[in-house]
Symmetry: C2
Subunit: 194 residues, 2 copies
């Protein structure tokens, strides 16, 4: 069995972007202040191969969906956001996504909420609430059918604390997304409105 | 032990709004078309006690956080969205929330994604991906410190398929939120930006 760093250099994860097991080794080792400082410092970094940078203001984009990923190394709550072009395509159910679409995938550690569990314990014995622990990484898929023709029209990027991942990591992104070809290489589907 | 309907009449859940175990009995029994039709029909319904209606366009509000809730009856992925007034307060870390703040809590069933698991199986044996199954309900907290003075300044509402819950259900909302008094009765905290 490959170790985490070997595996992450060979494979990109699923659900919009890469799983990035290796980056999780550092989870929780940096304070929020450090994280913010790093993000402020490094927002102009571009991803290897694709040249994708962190889109300003992406944290305020609209919600596509949420999910959870659990491996032997990773236990995450996740959310995917889209810029207006991507959101329109999701709502209309149209693929391929038009050029200019950007999808942001935010990944956080999943932790048990003792505070919530205390409240739940009375009415719902055994209930378990899981909330966000700390930020792990953010990934982007940028649609440009000409520029990124060799990778299904998508450029990829992975950032942790504002620092972009290396070339080996970014080589794994597209091969992992290929099984989602029927949905224009995007795993995430738009969450229904309750 | 109380049955689901008895329990839901006595207790409101956590994490912004009510858990609404009873409403989950009907999960998956209505088609998407029925759900959409119901939503279109009933968006002018107001919640008992509080008179809160579904805010138009709330699905496009900005993301506050995500979480997961598991009880003996419920297995959910959840997301909380906020209108601009609420989001500003969350970002500034200020409580109490100003009048006009609205928080929307969307709840979906959590299901295993066989498609994603197939992709993960190669690089991450035993990995598990969980995604959104179907919509369960949406809940709102509306801040009006005068109108809702008796309930911490918050009015509550719970909708399933666009249909508002009954008075017994809405009586449980504020008592459940009281343990979060130090955070202005809001359980959810703003998710850090990766």
């Amino acid at each position: 069995m490959l170790d985490a760093s070997e595996r992450v250099s060979k494979y990109c994860g699923v659900l919009v972007g890469c799983v990035v097991v290796a980056t999780c080794v550092m989870c929780g080792t940096k304070s929020l202040a450090q994280s913010s400082a790093a993000a402020a410092r490094s927002t102009n970094d571009a991803s290897p191969i694709f040249g994708v940078t962190i889109p300003p203001g992406y944290r305020d984009w609209k919600l596509i969906a949420v999910d959870q990923l659990k491996t032997d190394k990773v236990d995450q709550l996740r959310a995917q956001l889209g810029n207006d072009i991507a959101i329109r395509a999701f709502k209309e159910g149209k693929v391929p996504f038009p050029d200019g679409s950007i999808i942001a995938a935010m990944h956080w550690t999943r932790v048990s909420s003792e505070d919530n569990n205390k409240v739940l314990a009375g009415p719902f014995p055994g209930a378990q609430s899981f909330v966000i622990g700390s930020a792990v990484n953010v990934q982007f898929m940028v649609k440009d059918s000409k520029k990124y023709a060799a990778t299904g029209g998508w450029g990829f990027a992975d950032f942790k604390n504002g620092k972009v991942g290396d070339e080996a990591l970014h080589k794994t992104c597209f091969p992992c997304h290929e099984p989602a070809k029927a949905h224009d290489f995007v795993f995430t589907h738009y969450a229904p409105t309750p």
